[in-house]
């Protein structure tokens, strides 16, 4: 299935719909992420205290004691734990679940996971059936159209490159009721009022054929959705802005090979304290793979030992892990625990490998020397790995625990908890655990201020208004001293987020760039509808992504932020000219899913 069978104009129409769908999908992904974080929290709070499990006389959720005959609790159908009356949710005395099982069920429904599971039953061999067709089509189209999506030249008048697929559509969503036909309907009814003839029929046809040159200008200004279509079409005929994007110097990219890096990561795992510097994300290890579905749980105890001034993590055991090597039916799991302090310091410790088991028992105490006062700024990340042959690791799941809310006094710390393992992308903090600054992005940006006529549509009336809006154009012209791992990647792209007060966020993405000697994403990220007054309090996040076609999600290589008011002032006070900035790259800045 691809879009190549359609005529160009039809394809643009369909793409416009797919872009709208993507906006909805983004909202949906955020919502689901929140749901799952909440679930994690409920699980954490209501995890069975296993140190007391053999007494069997406490409620698994609230740990309140249960009587022998009186208030003796009952076994939950979902998890088989003994549960007191208070920790049950359900329709009747017989039909109930414990709070954790209930929350799990709710999330499964509300996140739409039920649907993905049903779909996977029918299409068991379709490994990416969690992606919608719309998503796939859009992605494949974006790959195909790399060449076509060169920087657009502004249309002849009012100088607004309407090449703004995300931001523009998003902001147009509100005033109009979103369907192609509506838009046509509202415009045609409007035009009828002015030109009181069969004009509207002709106009309608022209809209359908998106013939820019013959279309009355009245329509051209009217709605961005069509503009998007036309601008995309025009792109292929437009020369790129030649002198803007000079080739960046091929800086010493070969300084470190990935092999050396792997060694570094191995040694750093050997129970050593490391400060600052070159931590690599566990997710970016060179022999890194992820199991197709993360399952199972990890049992940990978190405690602070005042005598030794150590945070003590007892890795007890795991259960129901996914098999690390499905082909050979082998699993040799180990657990790695990283403690992150103020995002600059990171301590990593790991357990030994247990062989041939998906239910390993470790009972290993990992001690992190640390001043107690630093606890509140710390986070723990526990990752489970399968240790494969030839240093190949397979990621089996992770748990992120914030220590800021952790009560080390009240005894909860001493009890162990089961944590369910999550796949990487579902845990937004996961990638942020190890962070360091390396390399720089050379960024060029321009703010164009313009007074633009926009159309508002109220039922049948159409009003023209002038809005004082501007547009921010950002070009990543090059990169310097990027970490070695970004050199090993084949296809990179830049994703830009402009966060405005409101809060409003505009997203732009460059096409995927095939590996070249020096990465340059000479693609303009255009953020539209930015008011000059908003500019100096906004934040621009630029993320460098590695597009990995065969994995579930793309890999974040690093990110850079521009938020300094002084820089923004420079851009807004001297509009319509290019400004250059050098932004430091943080590897593994807060990752987002693509």
């Amino acid at each position: 299935m691809d879009l190549s069978l359609l005529q160009a104009l039809e394809r643009e129409k369909v793409l416009e719909v797919l872009q709208r769908d993507k906006l909805l999908r983004n909202t949906e992904e955020d919502r689901i992420r929140k749901l799952k974080i909440e679930l994690q929290e409920i699980r954490r709070k209501g995890a069975k205290n296993f140190s007391l499990q053999y007494s069997e006389r406490t409620c698994a959720r609230c740990q309140r004691p249960l009587g022998k005959f009186w208030n003796s609790g009952a076994v939950c159908q979902g998890c088989s734990h003994r549960i007191c009356n208070r920790c049950r949710v359900g329709v009747s005395n017989l039909d109930w679940k414990c709070t954790v099982c209930h929350a799990y069920r709710e999330v499964k429904i509300k996140s739409g996971d039920w649907f993905l599971e049903e779909k996977a039953k029918k299409y068991p061999h379709d490994t990416d059936s969690h992606e919608t067709i719309g998503e796939k089509l859009l992605k494949s189209y974006q790959r195909l159209s790399q060449i076509a999506v060169v920087p657009p030249t502004p249309p002849p008048y009012y100088g607004s490159p309407t090449f703004n697929r995300y931001g523009e559509v998003k902001s147009m969503k509100k005033p109009f009721t979103k369907s192609m036909e509506d838009l046509m309907f509202s415009i045609t009814s409007h035009v009828r009022k002015f030109s009181k003839s069969q004009e509207d029929l002709r106009l309608k046809q022209e809209l359908l054929t998106v013939d820019k040159s013959r279309r009355p200008s009245i329509v051209q200004k009217s709605f961005s959705d069509t503009n998007i279509n036309t601008s995309v079409i025009n792109l292929s005929n437009v020369p790129s802005l030649p002198n803007l994007f000079k080739k960046g110097k091929n800086d010493d990219h070969s300084c470190s090979s990935s092999g050396g890096d792997e060694e570094l990561s191995q040694s750093s795992e050997n129970s050593e304290l490391k400060r600052g510097g070159s931590f690599r994300s566990s997710g970016a290890d060179s022999g890194f793979h992820e199991v197709s579905s993360v399952t199972g749980e990890l049992e940990l105890t978190v405690d602070f030992n005042d005598t030794t001034s150590c945070l003590e993590i007892t890795v007890k055991c795991c259960r129901n892990l996914s098999c690390g090597d499905t082909k050979r039916k082998k699993c040799h799991p180990y657990v790695k625990v990283s403690l992150v302090l103020e995002t600059t310091r990171c301590i990593k410790l790991r357990t030994p490998v247990k062989r041939n088991t998906t239910d390993p028992i470790y009972n290993e105490v990992l001690q992190f020397p640390l001043d107690r006062s630093l606890l509140t700024q710390s986070r723990l990340q526990a990752t489970v790995w399968h240790s494969g042959t030839l240093k190949k690791k397979v990621f089996l799941g992770e748990v992120v625990i914030r220590l800021d809310g952790w009560m080390f006094e009240d005894g909860t710390a001493h009890s162990s908890c089961w944590y369910s393992l999550s796949p990487k992308p579902e845990c937004p903090e996961g990638g942020a655990i190890e962070s360091s600054s390396s390399g720089e992005l050379l960024v060029r940006m321009k703010f164009s201020s313009l007074s633009q006529p926009t159309w508002d549509c109220h039922t049948d009336e159409v009003h023209i208004r002038l809005h004082d809006v501007g547009q921010l154009t950002v070009v990543v012209v090059g990169a310097k001293n990027l970490p070695a791992k970004s050199n090993t990647s084949q296809n990179t792209y830049i994703k830009g987020y402009l966060v405005l007060p409101g809060p409003r966020e505009l997203v732009q993405k460059s096409p995927v760039l095939k590996r070249k000697p020096g990465p340059e994403w000479s693609h303009q990220l255009v953020f539209s509808k930015v008011k000059p007054s908003e500019l100096h309090i906004c934040t621009l996040n630029l993320e460098l992504w590695d597009h990995t076609p065969f994995t579930r999600s793309d890999r974040l290589l690093g990110g850079a932020i521009m938020e300094a008011e002084s820089s923004w002032r420079l851009v807004s006070q001297a509009p319509n000219i290019w400004h250059d900035f050098t932004l430091p790259v943080q590897t593994n800045a807060h990752g987002r899913r693509t």
Partner: protein, 224 residues
């Protein structure tokens, strides 16, 4: 049980439910959805290019078993519209897979569009997320009784064979439009609960009213 919500604040909803309208070109899918989301009628025929969708937010009140009304939830509906034309077929049927429920539409003033319902059923069986998805059969343009070519009894029989609800609607007057969509939404909401409550390892036998396989309509009887 459902009522409309006026605001569509981003992300502030409990369920995203994706429904899809299918059927021959010209039966009124686009007009029907426009009526449902905006309560308006557009008499012009504008061919849908490939696919499109509309959105609407409704409030769902879960009914407690003791008869009292239960919790309310916000449902964000994404209503996919498809082109009925043959040349878009491979594109539109690909989208069947991502919908949770289906509005299978025909035109009461076109016998041909009714005969094609069976073909659309096969398309669904082949391309939907499961073999027996939730479907509502919709005979549209009920406001044109003089031009009617499909009798209610005939359509009802077909729907019964498939074990799916049937509605005669008019996108022009709005009659039964909401009811058809809401019935489908209700089926999907019930399906979600079923799916998580009895994780039957054999999906073919696991719940759901529609049985496409057993219900292949009797050719002699229907092709009258």
């Amino acid at each position: 049980m459902f009522s409309a919500v006026s605001t569509m604040t981003d992300g502030d909803y409990d369920y995203l439910i994706k429904l899809l309208a299918l059927g021959d070109s010209g039966v009124g899918k686009t007009t029907f959805l426009y009526r449902y989301t905006d309560n308006k009628f557009n008499p012009k025929f504008i061919t849908t290019v490939g696919i499109d969708f509309r959105e609407k937010r409704v409030v769902y009140t879960a009914s407690a078993p003791n008869g009292t009304t239960g919790k309310t939830f916000k449902v964000h509906l994404q209503l996919w519209d498809t082109a009925g034309q043959e040349r878009f077929r491979s594109l539109t049927t690909a989208f069947f897979r991502d919908a949770m429920g289906f509005l299978l539409m025909f035109d009461l003033t076109s016998q041909q569009s009714f005969l094609n319902v069976r073909n659309w059923m096969s398309q669904l069986q082949a391309n939907a997320y499961c073999e027996n998805p939730d479907i509502v059969l919709v005979g549209n343009k009920a406001d044109l009784p003089d031009q009617r070519e499909v009798q209610e009894k005939q359509a009802k029989e077909l729907a019964d064979k498939y074990g799916i609800p049937y509605f005669e609607t008019s996108a022009a007057t709005g009659s039964e439009v909401d009811k058809a969509v809401i019935t489908l939404l209700d089926l999907v909401m019930k399906r979600m609960e079923q799916c998580v409550d009895k994780p039957s390892p054999d999906p073919a036998n696991g719940g759901g009213a529609t049985k496409l396989e057993d219900a292949a309509p009797d050719q002699k009887k229907c092709a009258c």
